[in-house]
Symmetry: C2
Subunit: 153 residues, 2 copies
DNA sequence: CTCAGTGCAAAGTCTTTGCACGATT
DNA sequence: AATCGTGCAAAGACTTTGCACTGAG
């Protein structure tokens, strides 16, 4: 089990077997495509890649499958405010947040325990019990800064 | 100038005067409605309130006006991931982030300089120059915890 | 053989836009 | 009077859904 795509497929299989869902060719193809993409994929992107192997797969199936993956813990839904949902593999990964380059779209992940701790403190101060959060830092990445690509002001 | 709604209207007037835009009845009505709502309003909510005073105002005008307000610094656009843009008054306000109750929808604002500082540190470590960020903590508010409203698991 | 899954196209949201009419400067 | 703004409805982008057919178990 060295291949993460195969691992995800396995995890999905177990989840489905447990509740009488079916392991179809399309689902298998979508999971593997998604995992191999490495992260932050939109449904459109996944569909485009999937179609190279099977042109008859429909958007609807990708939407339905990604939702399924989110439910069974294989994928996490992201929203970078660009009007479409994105997904990243979740399997065995620690929580993290994102740096988003507004020039080239590059996405870098980071985690910072001190920020997380402070968030808990803030929440407690207001009587909230936090169940999740989202944090994205938008700006210009190293490469875009270096190449002088102007930050869209 | 004690009334913030009037103040915002003024600010908008100046902005418009500077660039030959027109100060219409609709715009005035929308700004005041928006400011009086106090914050985190969706276009739909603003429209509903506006229509009580003038039923003939259209959605399009509210969308256009809110965009104008965002451009002139009177409003800030928010995205809580619920599929619609929200706006809050920006005039003279310091940056802040949000706690969102997933049970009752309540929104509490907070600011925390230490978190902001840590964000800068993280960004720098990755070579990013941050221009903006968003951070929302989702969970259950004090009241919902007290009244036993189950956090939607 | 049965029931879940799929493809397709229609429908649903939220938001934007084209256009002729109306209102402000 | 000259333009900008407005209302309306159509169009767009993304996502969901109804339905008949297909295919996995």
């Amino acid at each position: 089990m060295i291949d993460p795509a195969a691992a995800a497929d396995e995890q999905l299989s177990r989840y489905m077997a447990e509740r009488g869902l079916k392991h179809t060719r399309q689902r298998s193809l979508i999971v593997q495509t998604f995992v191999r993409a490495g992260g932050h994929s939109s449904v459109d992107e996944i569909l485009a890649t999937v179609k190279r192997q099977d042109a008859r797969v429909s958007v609807a199936t990708v939407y339905r499958t990604m939702k399924l993956l989110a439910d069974c813990g294989v994928a996490t839904a992201l929203d970078f405010g660009d009007g479409q949902v994105r997904y990243e593999p979740a399997a065995g990964r620690h929580h993290h947040d994102h740096l988003v380059c507004t020039s080239c779209g590059r996405i870098v992940e980071f985690e910072n325990d001190r920020i997380e701790a402070l968030q808990q403190t803030v929440a407690k101060r207001h009587g909230f019990q936090v169940s999740s959060h989202r944090m994205e830092l938008y700006g210009t990445c190293r490469d875009c800064l270096a190449s002088g690509r102007a930050p869209p002001s």
